[in-house]
Symmetry: C2
DNA sequence: TAGGAAAAAGAGTTTTTTGTCTTTTATTTA
DNA sequence: TAAATAAAAGACAAAAAACTCTTTTTCCTA
């Protein structure tokens, strides 16, 4: 569904959201441990998300990644778009370059419905909305 | 969503279904032309599907790929499962190895709904059901 | 102001996916 | 039965994705 890069990105961002709500920054080591991802890989990924403004960071002692009030209201959809592009929201299910209402592939309409639901779901999924369940250990970011 | 291999596989199988309904076999050259795919690549893919019994083939002059009555009733779901495995139907949206009702990831329940719809849609999509629209040029397998 | 901590930057490696090419095997038909 | 046709088989190649390592920059604190 999503690339591995994107999966790590989402998990990391949800974790950073949790720490940010607690008023803390999250370091690479902590993040990679908590979401069970390769350390330098998630570093690379967050570097890129930071460059794009989806997450904030500071260097040096006490540095790390964090989200402000506005970024906490960001959605999973914006992460997915940023990392994987919007192929998943608008691409053809059968990989046709030109697939549209005018020239649909055989599963165009059925797929469109599912894609729209996916988009709706991910756009509604704000980073801030996951912290409580995580905190209460009702949901998880690794097998733990 | 699907791998390129899987996209080609579905397109090829839908085309073969169309030819089979017309009582004809489809050769690699014809298939690759009609679905706009690399010739030797789709050959490889069909070889594998043939090995798995999802499509029939014969060698030599007048040879090619075709589907019998039973295979024509096969679904896109079985092609997807055969090529990409069932990760798309049952895998975790965030890539967790262990993600279940007991230990769900933060988007487990929302994703489950979408995955189930996808499964339902693909299981209901029989190969035989696409030929008429294709024939009438209401749907397409390439940009044409 | 020096030492250490932590992210940024960027080059490099490995693995997987995608795609190609050549040879072999099976079938048909002249 | 020889020639032609078409898929099967398998080795190979290129591109993309996943992942690692080293150096640099920035910032904090003693």
């Amino acid at each position: 569904m999503f690339s591995k890069t994107c999966e790590y990105a989402i998990r990391a961002m949800i974790f950073i959201a949790k720490r940010s709500k607690a008023g803390e920054k999250a370091g690479i080591k902590e993040i990679s441990k908590e979401i069970d991802s390769p350390e330098s890989f998630i570093a690379k990924i967050l570097q890129e998300l930071s460059r794009k403004g989806l997450v904030l960071s500071t260097k040096g002692p006490n540095g790390g990644f964090f989200l402000d009030e506005k970024l906490l209201e960001g959605s999973l959809a914006s992460i997915v778009k940023s990392v994987d592009g919007d192929k998943i929201f608008s691409g053809c299910g059968l990989g046709l370059k030109q697939c549209s209402e005018a020239k649909p592939c055989p599963i165009h309409y059925q797929f469109k419905i599912i894609r729209e639901e996916m988009r709706h779901m991910l756009e509604g999924a704000k980073l801030s909305s996951f912290t409580e369940e995580l905190e209460n250990r009702l949901t998880f970011l690794k097998r733990d």
